[in-house]
């Protein structure tokens, strides 16, 4: 090894470029998570209503986003929207759209699971004091089930962050895409470029996701201890 390989990370503007790529990924993830969670809460609440058509449609929507791999979802939106619907969205917008709809689908299942775990006599007690349906959800059902939903929501967030690694496939300038460019541009001087750059990105993702999984586990454990 002529060069110490790790220096590839600090050559020129490489380090700031990599962090810039991470910022793009983070931005897409944050927007999609926020919009997706809001949408998912609505969908989840709708799925607990006794409207069979609505429930069926939302269930199909969930299953579609669950069964089709995220890579394929990205391509479907990336290729089909411009061609068949004349919508020319940038790659980043497509990514936000796909991730939001995906998060909303998964979130709807988390919310529904939490809501139906509230004992039915709570609903009856709420109805008995004259709450309407919206008030019932807002004052009785959501507050009691939100604790149950938090760990799963954190895990979903961590999945979204990991899934941002796929942005490369629709040519978003994310951290991996920039990493590839850096490896290629420096391949003459650095034989171990891939090792250091991909190793660095591997660690970056780990640093982002590991605290989230610790947090989720901590909450789950606390919850268990309280219920014991």
């Amino acid at each position: 090894m002529a060069h110490s390989g790790i220096n590839i990370l600090f050559e020129g503007r490489n380090f700031t470029r990599l962090l810039g790529g991470l910022w793009i990924s983070a931005k897409i993830a944050v927007i999609a998570i926020i919009l997706g969670i809001l949408l998912g809460i609505i969908f989840g609440a709708l799925r607990t209503l006794h409207n069979p058509v609505l429930r069926f449609v939302l269930r199909i929507y969930l299953e579609f986003f669950r069964i089709v791999p995220t890579v394929v979802l990205l391509f479907l939106f990336y290729y089909i929207l411009p061609k068949n619907f004349n919508m020319n969205l940038g790659a980043e917008t497509v990514a936000i759209l796909v991730f939001t709809l995906w998060v909303a689908a998964e979130m709807s299942d988390i919310v529904r699971g939490g809501l139906i775990s509230v004992p039915p006599h709570q609903v009856e007690a709420g109805e008995a004091i004259g709450l309407n349906r919206l008030q019932l959800y807002y004052y009785v059902l959501l507050p009691q089930s939100i604790k149950l939903m938090i760990p799963a929501t954190i895990n979903l967030t961590s999945r979204v962050i990991k899934t941002t690694s796929l942005l490369l496939l629709i040519s978003v300038m994310d951290v991996i895409n920039i990493g590839q460019q850096i490896i290629e541009a420096n391949s003459q001087h650095y034989q171990n470029g891939a090792f250091w750059v991909y190793g660095f990105i591997f660690i970056l993702y780990f640093i982002l996701c590991y605290p989230l999984s610790l947090w989720a586990r901590h909450i789950e454990r606390k919850e268990l201890a309280e219920n014991a």
Partner: protein, 219 residues
């Protein structure tokens, strides 16, 4: 959308379909073995090994498959380990899936009542006998829904193999789009390919979850 293009493309998608199944199969088998091993090590709190298993699980769960694959396929050769794309893909899937399978098995093992383990100990069973006759038979049936969910998850993850140019379903679709602009036809066949594998599995999973809720044994 042209039906003749769809028809022409069926054979090449058929090959991709089988490759997706084959790679998934090896990856899932490997991940199950690795996961079972890791969950055993943690369940019986084996010294040292327990730490290693814990570190592996955290690394595997908290990083994306795509970067794991890049590391195996592009960085390993730089330190003298050259693997074919397909081997890299399978190893990546095993590395990723092992931790998810470990969680599934651990969930099942922990679901076995503590009193069961104690009464096994009370009649003098060794750790290995305890696992073989008491914990595993009960724990495995509890793990089945989580294992099935992992199988679906891992098959979907094979779509990421496209980044190291393995000609599975996704890669084949992208190839057809890139070379011939058969966009709609290729995307249709791509979705159908995954649907054929995943819809039956997903129905099976729902059924397993429902069955698990009623308990395979019940006291």
């Amino acid at each position: 959308m042209s039906w003749s293009v769809v028809q022409q493309s069926i054979p090449i998608f058929g090959q991709a379909f089988w490759l997706t199944l084959k790679l998934s199969f090896y990856g899932i088998i490997g991940a199950s073995i690795l996961g079972l091993l890791a969950s055993f090590i943690r369940y019986f709190e084996m010294p040292v090994l327990q730490r290693i298993a814990g570190m592996y699980i955290e690394l595997s769960r908290n990083t994306p498959l795509l970067i794991q694959l890049f590391f195996i396929y592009y960085a390993f050769p730089e330190i003298g380990i050259k693997l074919s794309a397909q081997t890299s893909g399978i190893i990546g899937l095993i590395f990723l899936g092992g931790s998810y399978m470990a969680a599934a098995f651990t969930g099942g093992l922990n679901g076995v009542d503590k009193i069961q383990v104690e009464s096994g100990k009370a009649i003098g069973l060794t750790n290995w006998q305890l696992a073989r006759y008491v914990v595993l038979p009960q724990g495995l049936s509890l793990s089945v829904p989580a294992i099935a969910a992992n199988v679906i998850f891992l098959i979907k993850e094979t779509s990421i193999f496209t980044v190291i140019a393995i000609p599975e379903l996704t890669n084949t679709a992208l190839d057809q789009i890139g070379m011939y602009y058969h966009t709609d036809e290729s995307l249709l066949l791509l979705v159908i390919g995954y649907a054929i594998i995943l819809i039956p599995l997903s129905i099976l999973l729902t059924w397993l979850e429902r069955r698990a809720r009623y308990g395979a044994f019940g006291n």
